[in-house]
Symmetry: C2
Subunit: 380 residues, 2 copies
């Protein structure tokens, strides 16, 4: 049976790798693509994968693309309305949400309401709206298949297990390029240093998030929702080479771990072919030559963004949205060289302290909280 | 529902730990016990667990026991006939085969024919008669639940997975007390040195087998049968602290591992409560303080018993029986200080070279091969 897939965020790192996976699997087909503004790449994707529909977020770029692909059958749409159309209107059974930012929430909900499974690569969706998404998935009988390597690892470890027998989740973290450094040393960090990730090749935003461990914090909050555990059942452990992608400890003391080379195509393919596994070209782990896997306790004082994530996740309501929006804002400021490296987490902390949290926010309240956080930070 | 269990080999290391697990689980009950000659311990077990039937291999000891437990309702039997009765005649749904040696084969087959699941802790059964046991399990619709920590680990990793998608099994080995030593150094090994195992507390025979890595070789042959893979899909890796109990590599490159503290009660309980997991008192792994997991390639030249096991397993037929019987004989000789440490594996090699292998042996032929191997070795 042909597996039909919509890829929202098709020109980003996860999006392009998703399309590589589709290329390698003859029974997978793309029905819709969505991108921000990179219409050159999107046009190549249209010609290769022949989707029925594409969305370009930027309206002007969408007009340009329409002209350049007028020899094809593709329908070109734009903006949030177009994105919702891409999420819902085609025959896709699974929607890969590889969009960056809270822009991902509405299309995810729309796709779920249309009965589609979600291959989730958009962190913000569960971080800010987990209390809406998880009950909705249950109500609609759709699957949330994690694409992130850590969550996919936990998902793989839970395969065939009873989640009620989970005692703890061990979320692994590489520790990023600044592992082992102290707060004073991080004061001097330059943009160029922060953009070097030791193991994974990713976009600039997530590379910075990985260096501050804010990314791991977001993953902790995501894991809480995905696997229905208490946030304090999730323990982060540094594992510098990213060989163990994450682990589950069961109540009998058994720990099940998923390991692999750092290749995002594995969790992507797993989400798309689940519950089946398939051959995937690429390097394999060789334990005869690997030598060792090392572990460290995270330094919560230096990387206090991780500590803030636990606080936000524990409090819930609108606070994870503030955590995430403040980080987005601060990273943008840092990437534009307007604030220092340590000010990223300081900004998050200030925003969280300033915010009056509300419980059980609607999507509108979540998006309003996002905007309010940006406004507040502008005046700090 | 009450889970009824027969424990064959109840006074040994696995047997006593099985009874500890039964004690901790209110819905488990022992219906039959069998032991070799330790009637003092067996009597205490009778009084605590109140089985309907016990077997003592040694007939004279069985008579003694009959007298001392005449105030109870237990039926005391003896010899192979008694052992078969213990395997079959009670209401047990699961028979734990924790007997040492090829004596385990017949009761295992008898229990399977009676429709009982096997919690397999007797290595020799699959090593020598895997070609009989595995098809029989399928025919009778009974489960073979591994109790060995490595095989249990693989079994746990395969939970919910399709075994046809297995690419490789990584069987971990501690490397024993002589890891890193060379052949010349092993010439001088004394009995006392060989009896010290770094991680697991086990009986003398298996401790020696672990030091020569013959034990790992037996496990490789067992794994081939248990998991239906080719012997060359099984790769042994040294992992000195025995934290990873074994791993499965799937065809997509994902590796799933089971980790834990070295506590045999975990695989025992897992086999008895499968597919459920249950709380088990005991130490837990703490990755914050663990520091590292190290790996090494096995030294097949020094520990050439492991190489011989691959040869025996690859050839099949009666050769694994010769491998196992020669090892049993040689270890006994070593424990009695009649041969040197290195002569253990040399004896196995000689016996294998001397033997004319036959394919698809019956149980009778397997047991005859065992005796012939002993005879041959007497005259070396």
């Amino acid at each position: 049976m042909m597996k039909k897939i919509a890829v929202l965020g098709s020109t980003g790192s996860i999006g392009t790798q998703t399309l590589e996976v589709v290329s390698n699997n003859q029974d997978m087909k793309v029905t819709a693509l969505a991108a921000g503004s990179n219409i050159e790449l999107l046009e190549r994707q249209i010609r290769e994968f022949k989707p029925a529909l594409v969305c370009v977020w930027d309206e002007k770029k969408a007009m340009e693309l329409k002209v350049s692909v007028k020899d094809t059958d593709v329908k070109v749409v734009s903006g949030m309305e177009g994105l919702l159309e891409a999420a819902v209107e085609t025959e896709a059974q699974t929607v890969v949400t590889a969009l960056v930012g809270m822009i991902g929430i509405r299309p995810t909900i729309a796709a779920m309401n249309a009965g589609k499974d979600i291959a989730l690569a958009n962190k913000e969706t569960l971080v800010t709206a987990g209390h809406i998404i998880i009950p909705l998935a249950r109500e609609k009988g759709v699957r949330i298949l994690p694409v992130d390597s850590e969550h996919s690892a936990i998902f793989q470890c839970l395969n065939g297990e009873n989640t009620r027998q989970v005692h703890k989740l061990w979320l692994t973290a590489s520790g990023g390029p600044f592992r082992g450094r102290k707060r004073e040393e991080l004061e001097k960090v330059q943009l160029e240093d922060a953009l070097k990730h030791p193991n994974w090749s990713m976009g600039p935003k997530i590379t910075i998030d990985s260096s501050t461990m804010v990314n791991k914090g977001l993953e902790v909050i995501e894991a809480k929702w995905l696997f229905g555990v208490d946030i304090d059942q999730i323990q982060v452990v540094i594992q510098p080479k990213s060989i163990i992608h994450s682990m589950v400890e069961f109540e009998d003391g058994a720990v099940v771990a998923q390991l692999g080379t750092p290749d995002m195509k594995l969790p992507i393919q797993y989400a798309l072919s689940y519950p089946e596994r398939r051959f995937l070209p690429g390097d394999r782990l060789d334990f005869w030559t690997l030598k060792e896997i090392a572990f460290e306790k995270p330094d919560f004082d230096t990387f206090f963004g991780l500590k803030l994530a636990y606080e936000a996740g524990r409090a819930g309501g609108t606070l994870p949205t503030v955590f995430n929006a403040a980080n987005e804002y601060a990273v943008r400021e840092f990437l534009n060289r307007r604030i220092s490296y340590m000010e990223i987490t300081e900004m998050i902390q200030k925003a969280m302290e300033h915010h009056k949290a509300a419980a059980d926010p609607t999507v509108e309240e979540i998006l309003r909280t996002e905007q309010e956080t940006y406004e507040v930070l502008k005046h700090f």
